[in-house]
């Protein structure tokens, strides 16, 4: 298989995560997986026709859109790697404010310039091209990337994770009687008890599994980097209301109070799941 690795607007963490797979990374590199194009590693300026394209990053500029269309046209399979490519990611936070306006002012974009024009929003690549597999995560864990790529190379269907992070977290859910919620650093988390039960706003109950729950396991709240789980990918599902219910049930704090608390912190879970997303089309293809 010939492979292209493409970076759109992102932080490059996803390809870095792939490199962190160590031995497994070396193992996968073979005639069956030959990276032929990757501006980060290879001096080839024209995008070749390939079997598989791995794309990290989302579409922020007109140039990104042009590139993703070209990449799609030139590859048989296309994998969206990481939350920016699959859902829009962190850069989507720019959708809340009109970042474009700010930037135009600061960088004199209104004047004649050779810089590529910005789009109004940050878009996941699925808005422009068909995606065969989505691997959300910020970044996806190395083992998940390796599993997905190995399966794809051997023409097998990779595992479709559809449950929530709580199923991989070893903490016990014990309904509590708290009077309010807590900030991440406000107190130390007690080991073995669910972070939500302790009053922390952990998004594990909304977020797709497959990562192994590295964050809540060590006492850091899940911040939803794998995007919404299957059950939340129907348009009728209100994630916000769902989260309020979960937290209320596990902490004993009245829903009203939680809703008020959550509205105070607008960044809470829009962080990684904000941009537009064709939920129905994508659901089955998420790894």
């Amino acid at each position: 298989m010939k492979v292209n690795i493409i970076s759109l607007t992102c932080c490059a963490g996803c390809v870095s995560s792939f490199l962190n797979a160590g031995e497994a990374f070396l193992e996968i590199l073979s005639e069956n997986f030959r990276i032929v194009y990757s501006p980060t590693f290879i001096d080839l300026k024209e995008i070749p026709k390939v079997d598989l394209a791995i794309v990290e990053g989302g579409v922020r500029t007109e140039e990104d859109e042009k590139l993703i269309r070209e990449v799609r046209a030139k590859s048989r399979l296309l994998v969206a790697l990481g939350i920016c490519a699959t859902h829009g990611g962190i850069t989507s936070l720019g959708d809340i404010f009109s970042v474009k306006k700010f930037l135009e002012k600061e960088y004199y974009l209104s004047e004649r310039t050779q810089l590529p024009e910005l789009k109004d929003l940050m878009y996941p690549i699925g808005n422009f091209v068909d995606v065969d597999y989505y691997i959300p995560g910020c970044p996806p864990m190395p083992f998940l990337i390796i599993h997905a790529l190995k399966s794809i190379v051997s023409e097998k269907q990779p595992l479709h994770h559809k449950s929530i992070v709580c199923t991989e977290c070893n903490r016990k859910i014990i309904p509590a009687k708290l009077d309010r919620l807590h900030g991440i650093y406000e107190k130390e988390a007690t080991p073995e008890i669910c972070l939500v039960s302790q009053g922390f706003i952990c998004l594990g109950s909304l977020t797709r599994d497959g990562c192994g729950a590295p964050c809540p396991r060590v006492g850091f709240t899940c911040f939803g980097c794998r995007g919404p789980a299957d059950s939340l990918m129907y348009r009728s599902r209100d994630m916000y209301a769902f989260l309020v219910k979960v937290i209320s049930r596990r902490t004993g704090v009245p829903e009203e109070k939680i809703r008020a608390e959550l509205y105070k912190t607008p960044f809470i879970f829009h962080t990684f799941i904000f941009s537009r997303f064709d939920r129905f089309k994508a659901r089955e293809r998420i790894i």
Partner: protein
């Protein structure tokens, strides 16, 4: 021929991010200007306004997946300054170890994956072959070593940071979890192996470097100021003061982290999404200053680990101090790597590293604070202002690539002058320019809080029309 012309190189390959080079020719066809610029932007500086301080460190690390740990550490340091929190010695040591993990994972990739192919193959070699994957096919051993080193860095980050990329354990007040005895033993074992691999990498690097030195020398030696963290004249990444030396090597200024913004200023241009930073006291062009591996060598009088100290001595003997040759960045990066491996080993040998006092209570306050660390590419500064609700009011980040931006541009211009006469472009221009840019290992993602793909050289006339485009 009438009017000015421009040459553009795009995309620049084997660098972290998306760059483009434009060379402007005057009416005689000689170089009048050259720019290296970033073509993407994400706008972190804008959309993070209003963010709760407690979410900043792990959100801000998304600026750059390559040096995320450095961003997290600068971020928590800035917040701790505002909160007036003093962390424990144990937490400090573990954070330094995290930073070493960052340097190791970054430098091992930069050396083996990005720059080694330039040393390994001649410039006549088919460009499609000039990459690490080809080296791995010819010599699988080199690939294995590169990956082993990278894996060691990643293990440090996973063990202490709890994720390899975008770590979550570093929080205002210290670290979320202490290190276990068992984990320490495992890492120490790997650290010893990593030191041995780095020694070999250094030998290989030096050998290839000597072979190519005559060619490398031509890639410019722009004489500028240099800046890096230092602690009692020794190399330092996490703590210490910032020292600036002049092109002759004399100390120009030395200041504390909190005074950073009084000494360094930034400016935007309409032709690039990356900002420029320079020494405030001297102004934009006189105050051109460089950070990164070479700057660290020029500023440190010694290194507190034995092998790296020996290498620093040899480096200074060979090239003088300060040295200005651009491609020495690649050599200096290997000494950084040696230091990071040795320092990690020394830290891991420390019995007190597994103490459980890694976290102190913080009390949120409003105010302004700066956090500084030496990131792989040089001095990284985060400045935040928090309001009384604990939310971010204002943010200013000065990132190594912004500081080096001016020097990169001057170097590219020099190279262009050498290769272009009276409208005629000699072959080899593309390669030379890419090597210069690669030596700086610029992180465009950081400088623009964004990333892209590769290099185009564009020649434009004075009406802005593209006359010629060079790409591979």
């Amino acid at each position: 021929m009438n009017g000015k012309k421009e040459i553009t190189i795009s995309p620049t390959t084997r660098i972290e991010g998306q760059g483009k080079v434009t060379i402007v020719l005057d009416e005689f066809g000689n170089v009048s200007d050259a720019y290296f610029y970033a073509t993407e932007i994400r706008g972190f500086d804008y959309f993070l306004k209003g963010m709760e301080a407690e979410r900043l460190p792990f959100i801000i690390s998304r600026i750059c997946g390559v040096c995320s740990t450095a961003h997290v550490l600068a971020s928590v340091k800035a917040i701790e300054k505002i909160y007036q929190t003093k962390i424990t010695e144990t937490a400090k040591k573990l954070r330094e170890l995290l930073l070493m993990g960052q340097i190791i994972s970054n430098h091992s990739i930069v050396f083996f994956f990005l720059t080694l192919p330039d040393f390994w193959f001649t410039s006549e070699e088919d460009p499609s072959k000039r990459n690490i994957f080809q080296i791995m096919r010819e010599k699988p051993d080199v690939g294995r070593k590169a990956v082993a080193l990278r894996t060691f860095g990643a293990h440090i980050l996973r063990t202490i940071g709890k994720r390899e990329i975008h770590i979550v354990s570093a929080i205002p007040g210290g670290l979320i979890k202490p290190l276990k005895k068992r984990e320490q033993e495992l890492l120490l074992k790997e650290a010893k192996k990593a030191c041995a691999i780095t020694e070999e990498a250094l030998e290989l690097g030096k050998e290839l470097f000597d072979k190519n030195w005559e060619e490398f020398k031509k890639a410019g030696d722009y004489k500028t100021y240099y800046m890096a963290l230092t602690k009692k004249d020794a190399m330092e990444f996490y703590d210490g003061e910032i020292r600036v030396i002049n092109p002759k090597g004399e100390v120009f200024s030395e200041f504390k982290a909190q005074e950073y913004m009084d000494h360094v200023e930034e400016k935007t241009y309409k032709w690039t999404y990356a900002k420029f930073a320079y020494l405030k006291a001297l102004g934009l062009s006189a105050g051109t200053v460089q950070v990164g591996p070479t700057a660290r060598m020029n500023i440190s009088e010694k290194v507190l680990t034995p092998l790296a100290d020996k290498e620093l001595d040899e480096f200074k003997r060979k090239f003088g101090s300060p040295t200005h040759a651009t491609l020495l960045f690649d050599y200096a990066r290997l000494i950084d790597l040696m230091y990071a491996c040795e320092r990690a080993r020394i830290l891991l040998e420390d019995e007190t590293l597994t103490r459980t006092d890694t976290r102190v209570k913080t009390r949120p306050r409003e105010g302004k604070g700066i956090g500084i660390v030496e990131a792989p590419r040089g001095t990284l500064a985060h400045e935040y202002s928090l309001n009384k609700y604990g939310k971010l009011q204002d943010m200013k980040l000065i990132i190594p690539t912004q500081v080096n931006n001016a020097a990169i541009n001057l170097n590219v211009k020099d190279a262009a002058k050498e290769f272009i006469h009276l409208g005629e472009v000699k072959p080899g221009l593309l390669n030379r320019i890419e090597m210069i840019i690669r030596a700086y290992d610029p992180c465009i993602k950081c400088a623009t809080r964004s990333i892209g793909r590769g290099l185009i050289v564009e020649i434009r006339n004075n009406e802005g029309e593209v006359v010629q485009t060079l790409r591979r």
